[in-house]
Amino acid sequence: MERGNALDKTVTDVAAAVADIPDGASVMIGGFGGAGSPIELIHALIDRFRATGHPAGLTVINNNAGNGHVGLAALIEAGMVRKLICSFPRSADPVVFTQAYQEGRIELELVPQGTLAERIRAGGAGIPAFYTPSSFGTDLAAGKPVELFEGRSYVRERWLKADFALVKAETADTHGNLTYRAASRNFGPLMCMAAAIAVVQARRVLPAGGIDPEQVITPGIFVQRVVEVARPVQEEDLNRARATYPLEAE
């Protein structure tokens, strides 16, 4: 019997993987600091913006706000990000975000880290709202419904979904099953669930069945595109080398 190939989610290169992200899209970007940051996908998006002026006006969801002048920081520096939803917009070198924020060029929605993670999971799991004790009684709960359960107060939080997710994995198979490496797992599995189109760069792409079913961390149902980036750069290494992106701007 002839086999279908719609399950082969591989795309040829990072440029193709992000070619259709439109102006104004919401984009979840994996990583906690540099660990798990899909640098090559982000840089491909910047390349496209420099060549075409698109995409602009993005809403980015990430735990942080970038570090130095590469990756997410470079995306902000390029002027592509209208709004950032994150928990901790500080880093060793936060100058790009800090300036954009202080000059009013970027909007910030600050979310407690656990609430951010749970809102993304809820988006992926079809849970439109949930209650959490986090932020109760603080400025970050302002305007949110509060409810008492068993004598304790909780804040109602809404799900968070996105049009796209950019995620870095260690191993993928062609169906989009994923494994991650160490603490670079962080937001990847959640963002793949919560985005309409999850775009994954993986160090290795194997045929379907190349990952033991017991060891799949993200099942392929949550992944729409896979691109092999065999030698990904590490954000931390770029920043220690004081790199900027695009590189010619050094």
Binding site: G124, G209, I221
Partner: protein, 222 residues
């Protein structure tokens, strides 16, 4: 009255499953749909208890009872399979990640309401994953005989049995016809060639609309 066999209904439902689709099949008749994937297409089947991309039953005696589907039948794995816990499994369901769920029915109403979990207050109630599936998959279809065993219509103006879900069904594959639910009404899309619309209407508990062409429902011998 001539009617499709269960295998034929399953075959017809399988024709609407796109290449690469993620699919959940209910226990019983819906499970048969997996056997009739059209050539050139490959679907991934999900089972609520925590497997994606399971395959056919193993040979008798070769069962692994840790490798079962939602109906607690032994299955096998296909390349690209994965295991996950129940919360992740229903995140797939509830989160809209399945392309289609195909379920059995006691009753379907013209507004898309489905009753398939309880035949009333007698006996032990049991619901399983049906109430999650009807609100999760991008497309919820029903596969069923057109009438009950004693000849009463299963397609109704309103369900009389306890509901599984409200306004959730969009297409019904029956032993006589293919019927869509659109804007709160049944729309006839296909019927057995030998069957008149009047004869079909006579065994249907709600008005069948025919705003467009009605195709012949033709299946291979199965």
């Amino acid at each position: 009255m001539d009617k499709l066999t269960d295998n034929q209904i399953a075959w017809r439902a399988a024709q609407d499953i796109a290449d690469g689709a993620y699919v959940n099949l209910g226990i019983g008749l819906p499970e048969k749909v997996a056997q009739y994937q059209p050539p050139g297409r490959e679907a991934v089947f999900h089972t609520e208890n925590g497997i994606l991309n399971f395959g056919e039953s193993p040979a008798s005696g070769a069962e692994d009872w840790d490798l079962i589907n939602a109906g607690k039948k032994a299955v096998t794995l296909k390349p690209g399979a994965s295991f996950f816990h129940h919360a992740d499994s229903f995140a797939m369901v509830r989160g809209g990640h399945l392309d289609v769920a195909i379920l059995g029915a006691y009753e379907v109403a013209q507004n898309g309401d489905l009753a398939n979990w309880s035949t009333g207050p007698k006996g032990v109630p049991a619901v399983g994953g049906a109430m999650d599936l009807v609100h999760g998959a991008k497309r919820v279809a029903v596969i069923t005989g057109h009438v009950t065993r004693d000849g009463r219509p299963k397609l109704l103006e309103r369900c009389t049995l306890p509901l599984t879900g409200v306004g959730c069904v969009t297409r019904v594959y029956t032993s006589l016809a293919v019927i869509d639910v659109a804007d709160g009404r049944f729309v006839l899309r296909e019927k057995l060639p030998a069957l008149s619309i009047d004869a079909l209407q006579a065994v249907t508990g709600a008005r069948l609309l025919t705003p467009g062409p009605v195709a012949d429902l033709i299946c291979p011998e199965l």
